[in-house]
């Protein structure tokens, strides 16, 4: 028998405590009141009458409790005999099986499953094992089981997924299993193709000390060949009032050898439209332009596919072509304004397809309430506010979510009684002679200027302003840009659901030269897009992404759906209820292909379609040294094969392991507790007897 903390036995000196308790005279209860204890020194009680042990049984009870308590703290264990031999050969084995889509390549998945079966079949009867299937996430089978059949069944039923390799989540899961294990030996078997792209997520994961990591690579020495469709772009144009979209596909070759005459085919709504042949250099890419296709009012699904290779998963790319979004803008000028006043603005808005801008012009006097029908943004360009019914209509337009841009100019005015829309009250124009003024402050965190925050993305401050209207900022307004003398250049104000901007100078070249700068076009586009609350549609998502349909009002509305009761149909045909359970409204898209979202109660002819593609980082089949990865997890490696030293013989255990497994201290504490209970009963009874005798 041994003790982990024998120094606790020094505490045996406390045995004197119960002995003293038995010998010390008990203090009298009555107290003598004395004027002052100034002269009285403290003297311990000393009684000759009680200086003998009167109750040996109670003394022995107390001494035994103290001795056993110290024994428990000393953490005893048996180092020999049957207790020490219990489960001395048992192992905790975690089999990590990579099921990312790259495992489809060249028969890797079959080899991986064979390796997993070998490991399971090689387990001893006392060993416990867990199978973890992982790609970008990790899925755990029955934990720490000795049931070989269930483990083999799990491996047999496993399939590759659409996820990319990420070792981190699986390693974390294995780490948790090891931490909770009571078995003396820990072993992780990692079966994977060891792609370099997945290693980064495992940084920082460390298995418990003494864990053996056995990496089993399923790659071969053959050179890697892989062609994949890396993505698509849409080029939109309008022809005869119809929108036409040209699909531009980008295809990459990850192999060491060039590929020639590879076919790429475009399919729209499941029907092949065009096939293009191209050549690809080694470790290079090419762009393929398909002929334009006409798009209707509803989104259509499309696919670009290459010839099949040894990794077919990344040979296809799905997407949804939505009809081009158009932002409708009404530019209102003053009565005396000519066509050149809004020339730059109209020309700038005439360029662009994502979104396209539908620009109409009017004057203040000719402006009518019905002109606001289907408009998203109104620009008051160097003009005063409309009056009468038109003014009321403009106010209502903004309050209901419309955007208003007020551009200052010579004829700008905002008399008392005009709609309360401006972010402040502006004054007479100010001239800046010489070089003119520049923009001294710009809030680059604002969506309008966010585009210019990155280096070499356009410098708005190069524009010179020779005249502008100073404005006194109102309480609810915020300044987004200021001139170098501190006067506001661009202000924003929220009016209920709508937004109002005031631009203190002109948007042509009369008062400044901004219209002649390259930044003019993106600036005007962002200004109008922000006022129209425009958000681009998403043509595809990556597998594993979660979409919150509750926040996709626009998408659902376009498809004629409400979020009340929705169901999604996966590419494999599974029905996924979206409006049930705690994840109501969320759709997790794990499969590659096109998901369709329907109303659960009625069948919809035109469902909401969502294209899902695999993570193309997985297409890079470059590998990392398996032993390097294993050593980063523990620093100890047994390469290639399962630990051959495991021969079934009894192992020598550390004292800590024996003590932890046997847990004798726990039983000792229970005995101590019972002794103290007995002591309480006995001492109370003795006290009562003594009182009665007195």
């Amino acid at each position: 028998m041994g003790f982990l903390a024998p120094l606790f036995f020094l505490g045996l000196a406390t045995l004197a405590v119960p002995v003293l308790i038995h010998m010390i005279q008990r203090e009298r209860k009555e107290v003598v009141e004395f004027p002052s204890l100034m002269f009285i020194r403290k003297i311990p009680f000393h009684s000759f009458r009680r200086q003998r042990i009167r109750n040996w049984f109670l003394l022995l009870l107390r001494c035994a409790a103290v001795v056993l308590l110290l024994g428990a703290f000393a953490r005893p264990f048996f180092s020999a005999g049957s207790l020490a031999a219990v489960t001395s050969t048992a192992r905790e084995v975690v089999i990590l099986l990579d099921r990312s889509y790259s495992m489809v390549y060249d028969g890797r998945w079959d080899r991986a499953r064979d390796a997993a079966r070998d490991v399971i079949n090689g387990l001893d009867a006392e060993d416990q094992a867990t199978v973890i299937l992982f790609d970008s996430g990790a899925q755990e089978g029955p934990r720490s089981t000795t049931d070989r059949a269930s483990l083999l069944g799990l491996v047999e039923d496993a399939e590759t997924g659409s996820g990319a390799t990420r070792y981190g989540p699986a390693m974390k899961l294995a780490e948790g299993i090891f931490d909770n294990s009571t078995l003396p030996e820990l072993e992780a078997v990692l079966i994977s193709d060891f792609q370099r792209t997945g290693v980064e997520s495992a940084l920082g994961v460390r298995f418990p000390e003494g864990t053996t990591v056995t990496p089993i690579s399923v790659t071969t020495e053959a050179p890697v060949e892989n062609v994949s469709v890396a993505g698509v772009l849409f080029e939109r144009e309008y022809f005869s009032g119809r929108e036409r979209v040209s699909v531009v596909a980008r295809v990459t070759n990850r192999g060491e050898d060039p590929v020639s005459a590879i076919n790429l085919s475009l399919a729209i709504e499941g029907r092949d439209v065009e096939t293009v042949t191209t050549d690809l250099p080694s470790n290079g890419s090419a762009t393929v332009n398909f002929a334009p296709v006409t798009v209707g009012e509803r989104p259509v699904t499309g696919t670009v596919r290459t010839d099949g290779d040894r990794l077919p998963t990344d040979d296809v790319f799905h997407f949804v072509i939505s009809p081009g979004q158009v932002v409708s803008v009404l530019v209102i000028g003053n009565d005396r304004s000519g066509p050149e006043d809004a020339l730059y603005l109209r020309r700038a808005l005439g360029i662009g397809s994502s979104p396209a801008f539908d620009v109409a012009t009017s004057t203040v006097t000719s402006f009518r309430a019905q002109d606001l029908m289907d408009r998203q943004v109104v620009v008051l360009n160097d003009a005063g506010p409309p009056t009468g019914q038109a003014a009321v209509a403009l106010q209502g337009f903004v309050e209901n979510g419309g955007g208003l841009l007020v551009v200052a100019g010579e004829r700008s005015e905002w008399p008392t009684g005009a709609p309360d829309l401006l972010p402040g009250s502006f004054d007479r124009p100010v001239d800046r002679a010489g070089r003119g003024a520049g923009l001294g402050f710009i809030d680059y965190s604002h969506p309008v200027f966010e585009l210019f925050s990155a280096p070499r993305s356009g410098d708005v401050t190069t524009a010179r302003f020779f005249r502008y209207r100073p404005i006194e900022v109102g309480e609810s307004a915020s300044v987004i840009a200021r001139f170098d003398d501190g006067n506001p250049a661009l202000l924003e104000r929220r009016v209920d659901r709508g937004r109002v901007f005031f631009w203190a100078s002109t948007l042509n070249n009369f008062w400044n030269d901004l219209a002649l700068k390259p930044v003019y076009l993106p600036f005007v586009h962002r200004l109008i897009e922000y006022l129209a609350d425009y958000s681009p549609s998403q043509p595809w998502v990556v597998a594993g992404q979660v979409l919150n349909l509750a926040e996709q009002d626009g998408l659902l509305a376009d498809a004629g759906l409400s979020e009340a009761d929705l169901v999604a149909i996966s590419p494999s045909g599974d029905r996924i209820p979206i409006s049930e359970g705690i994840r109501s409204g969320f759709l997790t898209m794990r499969e590659q292909g096109v998901y369709e979202v329907h109303d659960a109660t009625t069948t919809s002819e035109f469902p909401l379609t969502l294209a899902v593609n695999v993570d193309l980082a997985e297409s890079d089949l470059a590998t990392v040294d398996p032993e390097e990865l294993a050593s980063s997890l523990t620093g100890r490696v047994v390469g290639g094969q399962v630990d051959a030293s495991h021969d079934g013989k009894a192992r020598v255990f550390a004292s800590e392991d024996l003590e932890q497994r046997q847990g004798i201290w726990w039983y000792l504490l229970i005995v101590v507790f019972m002794l103290f209970v007995a002591e309480t009963v006995v001492s109370n009874r003795l006290s009562r007897t003594a009182l009665n005798a007195d």
């Binding site: 005279q25 203090e27 009298r28 009555e30 107290v31 003598v32 009141e33 004395f34 004027p35 002052s36 204890l37 100034m38 002269f39 009285i40 020194r41 403290k42 003297i43 311990p44 009680f45 000393h46 009684s47």
Partner: protein, 303 residues
């Protein structure tokens, strides 16, 4: 009454008997009647038969006090001055801290001090002195300013006082210096559970104004003899602190310490021209008074 006839000025009234008298007025009369008037002198010059000194005549002096004999000898005017033997201020400073509430006999120290103060006050009133009272514990508790008409007020105050708070001499004595600006006699009654040096340091400022300072230390016989036998816990009346004590082993040491304390206090008082007297609450009050007044009479002749 019988003792009054047999022993002039001292009747040795037993404190147990005094304890049965409810009225302090009657008690004081019982104790004091029969004492000799004029045993102490006032610190001021006034009208009496005892010549004190000569002083040069100044315009405005009563010509009746011119000493013509001196004029005849020196051809200069001198007036005679006499000691005033009455109309002095007599104040009692009475410790009413919680420790004074101890008594192993019939009377507590507080009661004994109360009787003592009543007797002295009555005694002084009979001499037409102005009498006052100050009670204190850790601070001044009550104050009756000296006046010839305040006997009843003082007796009433003495009758109703109760010991309550823990005591300390420093603050009340410091504050009391403001009360005694006119010279007079101050009697301090306390058990003086403080370091003797500190006690004297606190007392000295009272005598700076020319006051005659008299210190009465009142102790119970149990405090002097420590007659306890059984081991038990002793609790300090003032702090509430408890201590386990075996008196049998400690008695001699305690007696030695208390005697040293008394001796030190007595010696330091004498060195600082402060009259000191120890009163054992088992001793008859009039006996103690007689003994003390006799001592002061002797001392006044020496001074």
């Amino acid at each position: 009454m019988e003792t009054e006839q047999t022993v002039a000025g001292a009747r040795f009234v037993d404190p147990k008997v005094l304890a049965r008298i409810g009225s302090l007025d009657l008690l004081a009369r019982t104790v004091v009647d029969g004492f000799i008037n004029g045993l102490h002198k006032a610190p001021y010059l006034g009208v009496s038969a005892d010549f004190a000194e000569h002083r040069g005549y100044m315009p405005g002096d009563d010509i009746r006090f011119i000493d013509w004999r001196v004029f005849a000898r020196t051809d200069r005017f001198y007036v005679k001055r006499f000691e005033a033997d009455t109309n002095t201020n007599f104040s009692v400073m009475f410790d009413v801290s919680r420790s004074m509430n101890f008594g192993s006999q019939v009377l507590t120290k507080l009661d004994y001090g109360r009787y003592l103060a009543a007797c002295l006050t009555y005694f002084c009133t009979r001499q037409r002195d102005r009498v006052g009272l100050v009670t204190f514990d850790a601070d001044i508790v009550t104050r009756v300013p000296p006046s010839a008409k305040h006997l009843n007020v003082i007796l009433h105050e003495l009758d109703r006082i109760e010991a309550g708070q823990p005591g300390s001499l420093e603050r009340p004595f410091f504050r009391a210096t403001e009360f005694f600006k006119r010279r007079g006699i101050i009697v301090v009654i306390s058990d003086f559970y403080e370091d003797p040096k500190k006690v004297v340091d606190f007392l000295k400022p009272l005598s700076y104004g020319g006051n005659d300072l008299i210190v009465f230390q009142v102790l119970d016989p149990a405090e002097i003899d420590f007659p306890y036998d059984d081991p038990t816990s002793f609790q300090d009346l003032e702090t509430g602190r408890k201590m386990p004590v075996v008196p049998e082993k400690f008695r001699d040491q305690y007696r030695e310490l208390i005697q040293e304390h008394i001796a030190a206090l007595s010696k330091l008082c004498a060195e600082n021209r402060i009259d000191y007297a120890l009163f054992n609450t088992a001793t008859p009050i009039d006996h103690a008074l007689f003994k003390f007044l006799a001592m002061r009479e002797k001392l006044s002749r020496v001074r």
